[in-house]
């Protein structure tokens, strides 16, 4: 179980500022932020506290099982963002 950031996200990062476990990316200090289309929640790290839901100024964050039908695929999108980031980091390491 985890929270998921869906299509309305405007990358305001208020969510990230209140997240107690720092599971939201990319943050404003990351080089990636300026071209970020949206932010993502790492389902492997999210502790399901819901603090981000209140903080989000566009109500873009949902409990996974409560995602509106049209945004149901965002659970996969959020997870995939972190998987590809971890893969990319692994590939960069020298063999």
């Amino acid at each position: 179980m985890a929270f998921v950031i869906a299509a309305p996200c405007v990358a305001d990062y208020s969510c990230l500022e209140v997240c107690p476990v720092d599971c939201i990316s990319p943050g404003p200090h990351s080089a990636e932020f300026d071209s970020a289309e949206q932010l993502y929640i790492d389902p492997a790290a999210c502790i399901n506290c819901g603090a981000c839901v209140e903080a989000c100024p566009v109500s873009a964050i949902y409990k996974k099982e409560l995602l509106p039908e049209k945004w149901a695929h965002y659970a996969g999108v959020n997870a995939e963002y972190f998987e590809q980031a971890r893969d990319a980091a692994t590939n960069k390491e020298p063999a």
Binding site: A7, P8, C9, V10, A11, D12, Y13, S14, P28, F33, D34, S35, A36, E37, Q38, C56, P57, V58, S59, A60, K70, H73, V77, E80, Y81, Q84, A85, A88
Partner: protein, 439 residues
């Protein structure tokens, strides 16, 4: 006011200006009083006049964030005040410890092709301003009597425009789309919208959430042309892979089932707009595996969505190549003037890119510079004996719109909206806006 207090003017009440105001209000060791100046009688910039009416979620940023800044006791709104006409940079420079320009990008990139100025060829700014009830654009007329419209460019604005042209009154009538636009679109004969992209889908300018939405458009087929998905090389960037996956799904979905369709045509460059008294067609060249293919698309409506660009601000330096005000982390660099305390944030600082929240980080950087300069004593403090902005405007522009005046407009729009089960019914003429403000 203590010596530690700061008086800051912010020009532009869009997301860039409001995020800057928010950061200034959040300071604990310095009290900042802010005057927020806008050319329009209405605040919120492109959140009100840019974000498409069928994306009401994004406009929540007003209710859930920007309203708190606007209504803050240390913030005053001065709407209907135009820089260069009603007040000058010098007026502000003399009255405030610092001035932040958050004026956005008020010009358009042009195509530089023949026929661009024919009636029937418009910029995205015109069309978007028109359907969003921006008072400068409400009297424009768009020829929606033909069956086909062509959009040049495939960024998020292009997708917005394509949706608004095809969604139809069933989907639009419950939104805050301007009434004049809803009426015109209800009579529209347009059945097909072609979106042209010069390059391949791996370079598409739209964002993922926006293109993914195209899979669910009610009553609209979406087709993808000019893409050999099997021939595309493996993309190193995940964002791009996400886009290609969506496009492939759109391309493979059954088509020809709906009344209307949007065609995403890639590898196709516009060459010339043809027509006599008005637009009759668009000549294009499509790159294919076997060479170049010329084509003329029959259409009476061409909308250029190829980007915005910043315009110079009177009294400030301007970088003609980048179309921004030259700055270092938000501090304006002016080789010809010793003036301190001038800052920029948002699109006029970094160019027209990013989403709403990109401005939050951008404004924080600018505000940090401003506070650093204040602490170091580098700001030329405003002279206390000079009359304030209010007194100046009483002489020059007595019908400026204050926060309470805007709230009258806001309340009227929301009340009328509630009657029609819409978020608001926009007031879109200058006269009506100013009348409501003073009612």
């Amino acid at each position: 006011m203590s010596a530690n207090d700061l008086r800051v003017a912010i020009v532009g009440a869009g997301p860039a200006g409001l995020y800057a105001a928010g950061h200034l209000l959040h300071q604990h060791d310095v009290t900042v009083n802010i005057d927020l100046i806008d050319r329009l009688p209405t605040p919120f910039g492109l959140v009100r006049a840019g974000v498409a009416p069928d994306h009401p979620e994004k406009k929540l940023v007003i209710d859930r964030l920007f309203d708190f800044y606007l209504d803050h006791p240390r913030v005053r709104f001065f709407g209907n005040v135009e820089l260069g006409t009603d007040i000058t940079h010098e007026d502000l420079d003399a009255r405030y410890d610092a001035v932040i320009y958050a004026v956005g990008a008020s010009d358009d990139v042009s195509l530089g092709i023949p026929g661009e100025d024919l009636p029937g060829s418009h910029s995205a700014r015109d069309f978007v301003g028109w359907y969003n009830g921006h008072p400068d654009f409400r009297d424009l007329r768009f020829d929606l009597s033909g069956k086909r419209a062509v959009i040049i460019g495939n960024g998020n604005v292009a997708l917005d425009v394509a949706r608004i042209l095809t969604l139809g009154p069933r989907n639009l009538s419950q939104t805050e789309i301007a009434d004049h636009a809803l009426a015109a679109l209800t009579r529209s004969a347009i059945e097909e919208v072609i979106i042209l992209g010069r390059r391949g889908p791996e370079h598409a300018a739209f964002n993922n959430p926006e293109i993914e939405e195209f899979a669910d458009l009610e009553g609209i087929d979406v087709e993808v042309e000019g893409v050999d998905f099997d021939g595309l090389s493996e993309q190193p960037v995940w964002n791009v892979r996400r886009k290609l996956k969506t496009l492939k799904q759109l391309a493979e979905a059954p088509s020809g089932l709906q009344e209307k369709r949007i065609i995403l045509r890639f590898m196709t460059a516009p060459v010339a707009i043809s027509g006599g008294a008005k637009v009759a067609g668009l000549k294009t060249i499509t790159k294919t595996a076997s060479g170049e293919q010329a084509n003329t698309i029959e259409t009476g409506l061409v909308l250029r969505c190829v980007g915005y660009r910043g315009a110079a601000v009177l009294g400030l330096p301007f970088d003609d190549a980048r179309c921004t005000i030259p700055n270092e982390h938000g501090r304006v660099i002016d080789p010809n003037a010793a003036s301190s305390g001038v800052y920029v944030t948002g699109w006029i600082k970094r160019g027209p890119k990013g989403v709403i929240g990109t401005n939050k980080k951008c404004a924080l950087e600018t505000v940090h510079c401003l506070l650093e300069d204040a602490k170091a004593g580098r700001l030329e403090r405003s002279a206390p004996e000079i009359e304030g902005l209010e007194a100046l405007l009483k002489q020059r522009k007595s019908d400026w719109v204050a926060t309470d005046d805007w709230r009258r407009i806001d309340m009227a729009e929301r009340t009328n909206g509630a009657d029609q089960e819409r978020p608001r019914v926009k007031i879109s003429s200058w006269n009506e806006l100013l009348q409501m403000a003073t009612s």
